[in-house]
Amino acid sequence: MRFWILLKESFRYIVRSRLLFLLLVFSFLLHYVGLSFVRQATFSVQGIVSTVGPREGMFVSIYLSLFMGLFLSAIYGVWMVPYFHQGERSLLTFVLPVSKWLYPFVYALSFLILILLEYGILLGSFAWVFGKEAVLAPRFSWGALGICLLIETLAFEFLLFFFGILSMSVGQMMTLFIAAGSFIALQVAGTLFRFGFERYSEIYRMLPPLGELIFNIKQTFSQGIFPAGHLGLWLVWFILGILSFRFSLRYPR
């Protein structure tokens, strides 16, 4: 019962802070304008002019969704998750008769709803730009698309808690710098380990596979390769994120 009361409150905050409105508008603009632009582009290879088809269009949509999800997890994690648990407000939140375990699950579910809305906009924009038949008789695998979105979702959920814990610990500004630094480091490491440096790759393999995310999506969508290892690793990091967040609420901040 208390879980639903908290979830409702979390969503009221999302609506009143205008995050939902901004998500809907920004996501629609990104997907619709992005796909419309891609749809009109033509490529000329050895004199043969070709256009971007629904398959490539969906591939672009998944990438756009990756950026939108990262952006959303940063906003939700850095500003919204800490709202009830920081400063003078935290004293009032702390003494509510609510199990501290509920908070990470409420935030994870609220965020999942936002992400699902984002995916809804992705599919809606895709259908609008490429037509209904591109969705009803797709030239891509729904299974591969589902796995791409699943791996993205787990990554965003983990990042949500990563941003949230950092924001409550070192502040918003520092969080953005640390997150950007980590993102660049993991991307660079992901690229470097493809060309050697195996000595250090054991550590890298244990870290959140952020540097592999783009490769995973590409392989899954284009070649149907199921990234079971990385999916599992994201799940482990997501669970660690929930546990760390729970224990970061041990005392008011």
Binding site: M1, R2, I5, L6, E9, R12, Y13, R16, S17, Y83, F84, G87, E88, R89, L91, L92, F94, V95, L96, P97, V98, S99, Y251, P252
Partner: protein, 234 residues
Amino acid sequence: MILEVKNLEVRYGLKKAVEGVSFSIGPGESVGLLGANGAGKSSTLKALLGMLEPSQGHIQILGGRPGSFSSFEKLGFAPEEGEPPDYLTGREYLSFVSRIKKPLKTDFALAVDELLSWFELDPKKPIRECSKGMKRRITLAQAFLGEPDLVVLDEPLNGLDPLMIIKLRTRLIEQRNKGTALLYSSHILSEVEKCCSRAIILKEGNLVLDSSLESIQEEYGGIENAFAKKVGGS
């Protein structure tokens, strides 16, 4: 017993903020927690509410350990500097706290309306548009929701106008008569004298006086004299 503290010690690194403090509060008792700045009042309150880990001692609050779910169900707390969520109105915030405290209770609106009216709050005004005094009233109002067995108030008079101070005093006396225990941390000795039946005085982390106001009156001629003698040494 509503609250039992035995040999409480709180440390910040090597510095002892509270040392060997023991006291208890029974149902319907109203106890003033007094002390100069840095005497250990806030540290004691934080330890009671589970907001910091004592280095030593034992606390039992409302039948549970500090910070436990069961203790918070029967507790009302108004911190000195509490800031309610500013995207809500006063009514929405009080309704939220009320539902969280008693999820199965359906008639929470009555209690919320009574408190809104009693604290003279505009139910539809967003908290972000409220003055500091109004926010203070909302913070105090939420402490009385859910029929608490113990109300802990930390410097409750800060930011209140004189009329509301007088009103709050009557509310506290009413609550006490209903059997609610009260722990009232304040610098304002005269208010503690009017609202409480007992006073605890801390000095440099140590409990230097724990006595009923009647006894204090008899022995020292009033709480101000007792405070001056125990804290100021005069």
